[in-house]
Amino acid sequence: MRKGLSWFNTTSIVLGFAFLYLPILLLVIYSFNASRLVTVWAGFSTEWYWKLLQNDQLLEAAWVTLRVAFISASVATVLGTLAAIALTRYGRFNGRMLFSGMVYAPLVMPEVITGLSLLLLFVAVNFDRGFWTITLAHITFTMCFVSVVVQSRLVTFDRSLEEAALDLGCPPLKTFFVVTLPIILPAVVSGWMLAFTLSLDDLVIASFTTGPGATTLPMRIYSQVRLGVTPEINAICTIMIGIVTVVVVLASIITKRQEVARERAERLAAAG
């Protein structure tokens, strides 16, 4: 049990990962298919990637999506971090039940409900629908994810670090910026990344809250997917998967390296 894995554990891991990765792998492979028929392999080709570059609609949608994701992830990170601080630090306050309810509910709320309700709000207040309504909607649902990520870091945060700063004459707001924030920064950054990818990914909420002129990439892909599988869609999916994979793998390698360096330093310090 302690040393290595039993055959059962190994098999379940291997099968599990095969299930998780095979479909994505096939999709990537077929994006290099020379044939327009997705299911027939006709040799290697990068034709579809060149076609993509000429597809202005898709590029335009990608640009909209990136801007929405960047703005909404940034605002959501600020709001989500504030909410996390309030929830971990303020103990009991009036209206806490409602607040924590509003923070946790969007994590599991079916997207159709969130989308519909936000649309009806924007209609009720006569807000022009488009880029900004999608952004507002994305801020609202992604801030809750940020809040959960930051909260899980804050609960293990040693409060005496903040007390030490106060004790040494540092006022509370400055303490937050010079002590608390640098220490929880990795959690805040991964909260931002999560919010960014959630926003990139969202189809349903964006479809409800969008207006003329603001079409996001998932909406564009969805309308084409409904017409069937095309190598062009495979190509754009491959690009998106590639970018995310590179970023996530890089980020985890960097954290891993820092951890290793840290562990080594700790061992040296303990020995010397």
Binding site: A165, L166, D167, P171, V179, I183, A269
Partner: protein, 391 residues
């Protein structure tokens, strides 16, 4: 910063400590005053209507079990908690309601609370930077502090690159760097191993002398409190039980609680027979029935129940009845022996079921001791070895 810390003392620690006793001087003005301070957390009373004076240059220890309110008492001085009732003054100024970052107190935290993202140098300079001290002054002060705690070579390291003992010293240097009016130490040595802890206790005393500062330490370790402190306050349930120098706490405890909390003690219930100036006679039914005599002034009257407390190292153990004294002799049987190397602790079961501990130094290299299990023995002590407690 008027504590005059720059003047270095040439006198030995012993020379200063022997003379130092401002609490006996009615004219002395305390540096810290707690006046009828209470702190309640909801239903729970952490500190209960407590008054206490602490003097400048004193090394003062708050001692008690966890949950007795000692940490709360300290945190109210640092400004992390506000008292529910009462007044706290520091150098004559009422500090209740003043935020921690404006108080001239600094604290060394139990967890050390070193900023993990800053180097040793930056950690020590942190407080100085908050005061907008000049760059040159900061450099000079940080270097002085690094020298004080012997960490000059480690200035560039991050906290996780230090050993436990080094971290402890950085925490100390950081809290000393601002020259606070009072240094608060919250279980400062709890995370160190025994040997390092003992060394560090003497270092702490040395630094306190050198800088001429006031130290307030919170600890649950009675040996630590006895070693470092000029005075100890023993606390229980938010109240001060006894405030006195270590030797008084140990030799003249004012209650069974203090006697039992500080050091090892035997407690025997007895009836007061006669009370005279400088002496009290009692009778106990245990150990075959015996007369007890203690050289002490006691406020009690014949017939009262009292308790005689006697430390194990002050109990004599003999095979023959001690003919040289008539009181304080009890009969029993050796029930168990704890061999500690330097000492052996004899657990003697008296007639009547009460057990008494007697410590006997092992003066020779004999492995076979003259007194062994199930031997019939006498335990006895001198009239000025025990103490009579009425509460």
């Amino acid at each position: 910063m008027s504590t005059g810390v720059t003047e270095k003392t040439q006198t030995t620690i012993g020379g200063i400590r022997r003379k130092f006793a401002p609490w006996t001087d009615p004219a002395a003005v305390p540096l810290i005053r707690y006046e009828n301070v209470s702190k309640r957390f909801g239903e729970f009373t952490a500190v209960d209507n407590l008054s206490l004076d602490i003097y400048e240059r004193e090394f003062f220890a708050l001692l008690g079990p966890s949950g007795c309110g000692k940490t709360t008492l300290m945190r109210m001085l640092a400004g992390f908690e506000d008292p529910t009732e009462g007044r706290i003054t520091l150098a004559g100024q009422d500090i209740v309601g003043m935020p921690p970052y404006k108080r001239q107190t600094n604290m060394m935290f139990q967890s050390y609370a070193l900023f993990p993202h800053m180097s040793v140098w930056d950690n020590i300079a942190f407080g100085l930077k908050q005061d907008r001290m000049g760059k040159g002054d900061i450099t000079a002060r940080v270097e002085e502090m690094l020298k004080l705690v012997k960490l000059e070579k480690f200035a560039k390291r991050k906290p996780h690159q230090l050993s436990g003992g080094q971290r402890q010293r950085v925490a100390l240097a950081r809290s000393l760097a601002k020259r606070p009016k009072v240094l608060l130490l919250d279980e400062p040595l709890g995370a160190l191993d025994k040997k390092l802890r003992e060394e560090t206790q003497f270092e702490l005393m040395d630094i306190q002398m050198q800088l001429g500062m006031t130290f307030l330490i919170v600890t649950h370790d009675q040996e630590e409190a006895m070693t470092v402190a000029d005075r100890i306050a023993v606390m229980d349930h938010g109240k001060l039980i006894q405030v006195a120098p270590p030797a008084v706490i140990y030799e003249q405890p004012n209650s069974r609680y203090v006697a039992d909390f500080v050091g090892d003690v035997n407690i025997i219930e007895a009836k007061v027979e006669t009370v005279a100036p400088g002496n009290v006679s009692l009778y106990t039914g245990i150990g075959g029935g015996a007369k007890l005599s203690i050289a002490q002034n006691v406020e009690a009257k014949p017939g009262d129940t009292a308790f005689v407390a006697i430390r194990p190292e002050k109990v004599r153990i003999d095979v023959d009845p001690p003919a040289w004294q008539e009181a304080n002799c009890l009969r029993g049987e050796v029930w168990d022996i704890g061999y500690l190397g330097d000492l052996s602790i004899y657990h003697v079961e008296l007639e009547g079921g009460v057990r008494i501990k007697a410590a006997k130094p092992n003066l020779t290299r004999m492995v076979e001791r003259p007194i062994t299990w199930e031997d019939k023995v006498w335990v006895s002590w001198l009239p000025d070895s025990g103490v009579v407690l009425t509460r």
